[in-house]
């Protein structure tokens, strides 16, 4: 479908500040579609924002069916009861074949509307809640292309709480850690032995661990396994030897991301459907925010995220340049690789050189 007519960035930003949901929704679409005016509009919106207050961006991630959406539904209620305006970005996968998607998270996020009281309760809507479903559109990290920008738009529009739900993840979709101020990793009982917990990937990105559906058998064991994983990680980080009977140093300190807080990462049990454990989760989220603010980690984390986001966009731009290359260079190289006359690494060198040449010509 064709792009819609571009609005004036300043005008759209003004309408968003006035609280017009349609204008905000339109900006999020434009950011996702990569429309040229969208970045400028977001910048104007953020710089002119009457309330430059930072939102608390909470990432909710975990495997499909672990109860992320239902948990978010309950979180919406808890934060609304405190008078916060709450926005949700819910990402679901796009079909790799047709590009289509079924975005079905919203369906489980309407409990607040029915449970509330007052004039709008009967109609089932709450003006302080903004829910937006996004399709991943080929992104593999659990988020969509412009999830981070969409979250900043919601922040500038005055939503104090921005909850981002990733697609249902497996083991390696970790983009959320670059976007959220706090990552909640939701799992459920019976989803694998303890080896799963020491693997690299998603188990490393949780600030808070939730074992949901904790009314099912095996919940306590799941909590124990996560705790053990965290303790081993913390011991290795401090240089101690966590093996039974061992004394002294382990002999090496693992490099990589310093996670001194890892040992103290809370592990909670919840039953999202009934709301059990929700009060505790909210308290833990509050405490995380306070700590991250006080230590400066909040700002540091946002800076790291901004760099990662810019790099991702850069790599997309470079790939876009490839498509703009004249002639069927890629197809030619592909034939050579299949025939065995060329290795993929060599093909990448050739393509890289072509892009550089193109850039130089443009500059001349």
């Amino acid at each position: 479908m064709q792009a819609r007519e571009a609005p004036f960035p300043g005008e759209l930003a003004r309408r968003i500040r006035l609280g017009e949901e349609r204008a905000l929704a339109r900006l999020i679409s434009a950011l996702e579609d990569g429309e040229s005016w969208s970045g400028k509009t977001l910048r104007i919106l953020r710089s002119d924002s009457a309330s430059p207050k930072l939102s608390y961006v909470i990432g909710i991630t975990g495997p499909p069916g672990s109860g992320k959406s239902t948990l978010i539904d309950k979180l919406i209620g808890a934060y609304r009861d405190r008078g916060e305006r709450v926005a949700v970005l819910a990402v679901d996968p796009s079909s790799p074949f047709t590009g289509g998607a079924i975005l079905g998270d919203r369906i489980r996020m309407q409990g607040r509307a029915f449970g509330s009281t007052g004039a709008s309760a009967e109609a089932g809507v709450d003006g302080g809640v903004f829910i937006r479903s996004l399709a991943s559109r080929g992104r593999l990290g659990g988020l969509s292309r412009a999830s981070a920008q969409a979250a900043r738009a919601l922040e500038a529009a005055g939503y104090g709480i921005v909850i981002v739900e990733t697609v249902g993840i497996g083991q390696s979709e970790v983009d959320i850690v670059r976007l959220a101020d706090c990552v909640v990793l939701v799992s459920m009982p019976g989803s694998g032995d303890e080896i799963q917990t020491i693997k690299a990937g998603v188990m490393e990105i949780g600030d808070v661990f939730v074992v949901n559906k904790a009314d099912r058998p095996g919940a306590d064991r799941a909590v124990e396994e996560i705790r053990t994983m965290l303790e081993i990680g913390a011991a290795l980080m401090s240089g101690a030897d966590p093996r039974p009977g061992a004394e002294g140093e382990v002999g090496h300190r693992p490099s990589g991301r310093a996670r001194s807080e890892e040992a103290s990462a809370p592990v909670l049990k919840t039953v999202a459907a009934s709301g059990e454990g929700l009060g505790e989760l909210v308290a833990v989220l509050d405490a995380h925010l306070e700590r991250a603010k006080a230590s400066g980690e909040l700002q540091a984390r946002r800076r790291r995220g901004a760099i990662a986001e810019a790099r991702t966009l850069l790599s997309e731009k470079v790939l876009g340049e490839l498509e703009a290359l004249e002639g069927g260079l890629e197809a030619e190289l592909a034939d050579e690789i299949v025939r065995g006359d060329l290795e993929a690494t060599e093909a990448a060198d050739i393509l890289f050189e072509s892009i550089r040449r193109g850039a130089r010509n443009e500059g001349a």
Binding site: A3, E21, R22, S95, G99, R106, G124, V125, A135
Partner: protein, 132 residues
């Protein structure tokens, strides 16, 4: 630029059957559309709010309960109040022939009865969005 067609599939009213709506949602997905499915028993207010927040191009209403003469015009009015009267709104389900002229007058672009091939509804949506 190629933009995805976004569709809200919504079931207003109190009937409890959504197999038809799910089939249509799935067919739309397979046609490359992004379908926001909101489930059963939606109020017109919820539908209008979802349509606006999700920034959809199309609202597809499915109803079997017979309350379409009350609920559909209400959805249309609420959309207009939110400045979203430019959306394409189509309907499906059990809707008597005699009611269709009234619904069209209220702004429903097309009514697809039981047994309509999903391709027909999808073609209609694609053709009518292109014409805008």
């Amino acid at each position: 630029m190629d933009r995805k067609i976004r569709v809200l599939v919504a079931k207003p009213g109190l009937d409890g059957h959504d197999r038809g709506a799910k089939v249509v949602a799935r067919a739309m997905r397979d046609a490359g559309m992004e379908v926001i499915y909101t489930g059963l028993r939606q109020t017109p207010e919820q539908i209008a709010q979802a349509a606006v927040q999700e920034d959809v191009d199309v609202v597809a209403l499915s109803i079997l309960s017979g309350a379409h003469m009350q609920l559909f015009p209400r959805v249309m009015r609420l959309l207009a109040e939110k400045g979203a009267d430019d959306l394409l709104v189509v309907a499906g389900g059990v809707i008597p022939e005699d009611d269709i002229p009234f619904l069209k007058e209220k702004g429903i672009a097309a009514v697809f009865g039981p047994g309509t091939p999903t391709r027909e509804a999808i073609d209609f949506i694609e053709a009518n969005l292109k014409a805008r």
